[in-house]
Amino acid sequence: MQKNTIMNGMKASLPIMVSYIALGIACGIVLFDAGFSLAAIFWMSLLIYAGAAQFLAASMVTLGASFPSIILMVFFLNLRHVLMSASLSSYVKDKSFGFIGLFSHLMSDESFGINYSRFRDGSWTADEALVTSVSNYSTWVISTVIGGAIGSQFPINTVIMNYALIAMFLCMMVQQFVSKAHLLAGVAAVIATVVLRLVLQHNIALVFATIIASFIGYFLESYTDINKKGSRTNG
């Protein structure tokens, strides 16, 4: 790989590295707080490398959820990667199986965003994309372990730390409000979760509420004109 390729890839990764350091440290702290050892945090970031899924695991472990229900939620959460991954496929067509195997593992939301927009501009090579992804990935792994080490050294108020996690999910939820139907799906999820949790007295309520709310959003978009602007005036 040429020096230029490495420089270009690293440069593209810089802004993401900054946010990964901050979020990675926060993620390491909450994971340690949830009972994950430093080694477990390291392997988790290395093998899973999905911030939202790792935050979700910390939260659900703290809630006392079973492992299968956590894995199921992570599966649903990661379905969004299907479309991203397919969108990148045409740019790595001539690459080896091993390259695709590694490059796809490194496809976080942020790595996808930066690489896809550059690929579309036509000024980006698969090797540069891999350098950017590796650089984001190593930053995340190191930052989460540092976060875990910080969490292990300082006594941290668990109520407050747990709430930091909720603040994070609140913002991730708001970032998903891209249409009225998405907002209503969020409202439906809130209602369904509270009702199901009170009825079932079990954390599987999260899984059911997610499935119900995602279908409500889908049906709202498909069978009402909620997302169409000006539909009333146009008849």
């Binding site: 659900m60 649903f76 930091a164 603040a167 279908f215």
Partner: protein, 106 residues
């Protein structure tokens, strides 16, 4: 205390396949529009569900009194900040600061 490696391996498997298989086998055009439409509603539902299963409960009981359930007021503040900035860091800071103030003042 707990052994989390089973959880980590399970999570790794369900994370890897949605990333790997489409890149290897599919292009964007081959994914059905209804499937991708449905998929777009999953993250918002998950995050809303995670929030709701936490903030409306205090010591495991459903509780809507802001003076008892300290999470309610910070939630409103974080919502406002998140809507305005869409920034994870600002939202987290707002949550941590407002929760800290309430926790040590009340």
């Amino acid at each position: 205390m707990g052994n989390y490696y089973g959880l980590i391996i399970g999570m790794a498997v369900v994370t890897y396949f949605p990333r790997f298989l489409p890149m290897l086998l599919l292009s964007k055009k081959e994914i059905s529009p209804s499937f991708s439409k449905w998929m777009s509603y999953i993250p918002v539902s998950i995050f809303a569900s995670l929030v709701a299963s936490d903030v409306f409960f205090w010591e495991n009981d459903f509780n809507l009194y802001p003076a008892v359930n300290l999470k309610l007021i910070p939630t409103l503040l974080v919502l406002v900040v998140a809507m305005k900035t869409r920034s994870l860091l600002w939202s987290m800071l707002t949550g941590i600061v407002s929760m800290t103030v309430l926790w040590y003042v009340l």
